[in-house]
Every structure is written in structure tokens, then in C-alpha cells.
Amino acid sequence: MSKQHVSIDIAGDLRTLPVPPEELWVRAPRPATSLLAQLVIAAAALIAVAVLALPLLAPVSEQPSTPGPVTTTPPSASIAATASPSPVVTSPGCPLGQMPSLDITFRPPPGSAPGTGAASAEAAFRRLRPNASDFTLTYPFGSGPAAPAWIVAGNETFIAQILGTPDGNNWFAFPARFLGCRTP
């Protein structure tokens, strides 16, 4: 009985595997960008805190002489209101002279680094939600090539924005909620 010889060309086969584009072989240097990311996160957090705190402070300032119960009840009511699911805002535009306040969920540190994002707002969103098939993308914050995009997908909303320069793969998308308009 003859034994069948089976040849497996491991090296030849594996050499045909595709490799990623060269620009992805090395991650973009992190130190300078992580500081930028931290500043962006800190700024967003400050805005979010300010927006949440304004409704809590308003009743207190209107009734400075009212003791006890008046100051405790409104805050808990306000917190409950902001904690409940907000409606999907399809176009977070604001009147002239006001700025939108957004609650943006950035990636945890080291976060997103310029050069590692996508080439467009849509590509950045598709990277974040590869399975999303039905979504709308608008530019309510400006008309320039670097203006952030607002994306609505089902009951979720996102912002796509540029970190770094408009050139290269610098578009990133993050879950975001429109909290309201504020005067700068």
C-alpha cells in the first residue's frame, strides 16, 4: 500500500496574505496628542457641568431668602429631568449669538490621535458603528470642510469632528447628545 504524500506550502501561502496600509504600521506618536485630547475632554466636561448646573442654580438665585426645602427640592427634580432619556435631536442648530452645548462621550485615554482617524465624517461614523445602515448626516455647525457633522442613527446621535488638521485621516466620531443652546 502506498502512502500518499501531501505537500503544504506554508511559507508560500502565508506570503500571499495582505497587509494593512503602510501608514498604519506605526501608531501616531501619543504624548502631544494625548494632551490635546485631555484638553478637549476637560473642555467638554466643563461645558456639560455648566449646562447641568445652570438649571439647579436658577431657582436659588431667584429666591435668595427662602430657607431649607426650597433649595433642596428643585435640584433633585432637575437631576431627575436631566437623567431621563433625551429626545433625539435631528438638527442641533442654535440662534445667532448662541452656541450648542453637547454631551460628548470621548474614548477613554489615550483617546483618539490625529492620523489614526478616518478620511471623512461618514467614514469615521461607519468605523464607530460598522453595522449601522440607516443614518442621516448633516452639518448644522458650519459649512466649511472642517465643520463637525451631526449624525442621527435610530435613537442615537453622534458628532463627527476633526482632531488635528483637516488633512489626512483625522475624522473621529463620538456618541453625543444635544443639551441645548447657551450664550457664550
Binding site: 500518499q4 501531501v6 503544504i8 506550502d9 506554508i10 511559507a11 501561502d13 502565508l14 506570503r15 500571499t16 496574505l17 495582505p18 497587509v19 494593512p20 496600509p21 503602510e22 498604519l24 504600521w25 506605526v26 501608531r27 489614526t116 478616518a118 467614514a123 461607519r126 468605523r127 460598522p130
Partner: protein, 158 residues
């Protein structure tokens, strides 16, 4: 160390790494079977080498492969990898499904795959693999024999 020297060291290491990347990436991919995790692990190996370079440039592929495979198999549950563009992932996934060797490697454990790939693709000797992976040389030899037997057995039935 001066900024200039740091910059020179990075450039030198990056040059060596870029020469090694295609084969090392393919080898790691063949072991871990996930394009994103493979890329993340090889990038990690580059950064580790930047902080603490290997003592010799000889067998650089083997060093990068060992570091990357260890990262890929240990870290994969703790850290979300960098994501490749989806078009690249589908191209790589298609290749993994199409190429006979990668389908046969599926029959093996990750450790068996690592040894087979290191020997037959990266060209490392059994002694080198034993040193890199911290196992006995006899274990490497036995693993290769068992793995090839399993792959041939299934291949002959295709």
C-alpha cells in the same frame, strides 16, 4: 539622552521594524486570526522595542513575532484594538478563508500555530523557537510533528 539621539534611535528602530513588518504581521495574523488584534499587537511590539530594544538585530523577526504573539494572546481581552478600515479587514478575512494553509492552521491551538508559523514561515530554527517561547527544544520538535501530521491528515481528505 538628547532629543536628537532619541529621534535618531526611533528612526533607526522604525526602519528595521518597517522592513520586518509584512512578514511579522502575516505570521501574527496566521496565529491569532484577527486582523485588528494582529495589527495592534505588532504595533505594541514596535513601541516596546522603542523603549527597550532587543539586545541584537539578529533574529529581529523572531523577537517581534514573540512579543506580538504574547501581546495578542494575553492582552486581547483587556484592550480594544485599533481598528483597520473595514475594506482592509474584509480583504484580509477573505484571504484567511481562501488560503488552504490558514484553514489548516485553524485545526491547531494558538501555541501550535505559533510554533509552526515561526518554523516554516519565519524560518526560525527549533532551538531559536524554544528560546523565544521559553519551551524545551524537544517540545518544539514534537509540536511540529504533531501539527503537520494533523494538517496533512485533513488536507489529504480535502
Amino acid at each position: 539622552m538628547s532629543l536628537e539621539k532619541v529621534s535618531q534611535r526611533r528612526a533607526s528602530w522604525e526602519s528595521l521594524y518597517r522592513q520586518a513588518f509584512p512578514d511579522v504581521y502575516r505570521a501574527v495574523l496566521a496565529v491569532v486570526r484577527d486582523p485588528d488584534i494582529a495589527l495592534d499587537a505588532v504595533q505594541d511590539a514596535f513601541e516596546i522595542g522603542l523603549r527597550k530594544p532587543p539586545t541584537t538585530d539578529a533574529n529581529l523577526n523572531g523577537w517581534l513575532f514573540r512579543v506580538a504573539v504574547r501581546r495578542a494572546l494575553r492582552v486581547r481581552l483587556r484592550k480594544p484594538p485599533q481598528q483597520l478600515p473595514r475594506s482592509d479587514v474584509s480583504e484580509i478575512d477573505d484571504a484567511l478563508a481562501r488560503i488552504e494553509t490558514t484553514r489548516l492552521l485553524d485545526l491547531l491551538s494558538p501555541r501550535q500555530r505559533a510554533i509552526v508559523v515561526a518554523h516554516y514561515f519565519l524560518g526560525l530554527r527549533q532551538e531559536e523557537i524554544a528560546t523565544l517561547l521559553g519551551v524545551a527544544r524537544g517540545t518544539v520538535g514534537a509540536t511540529i510533528s504533531q501539527a503537520l501530521a494533523r494538517m496533512r491528515e485533513v488536507s489529504s481528505h480535502v
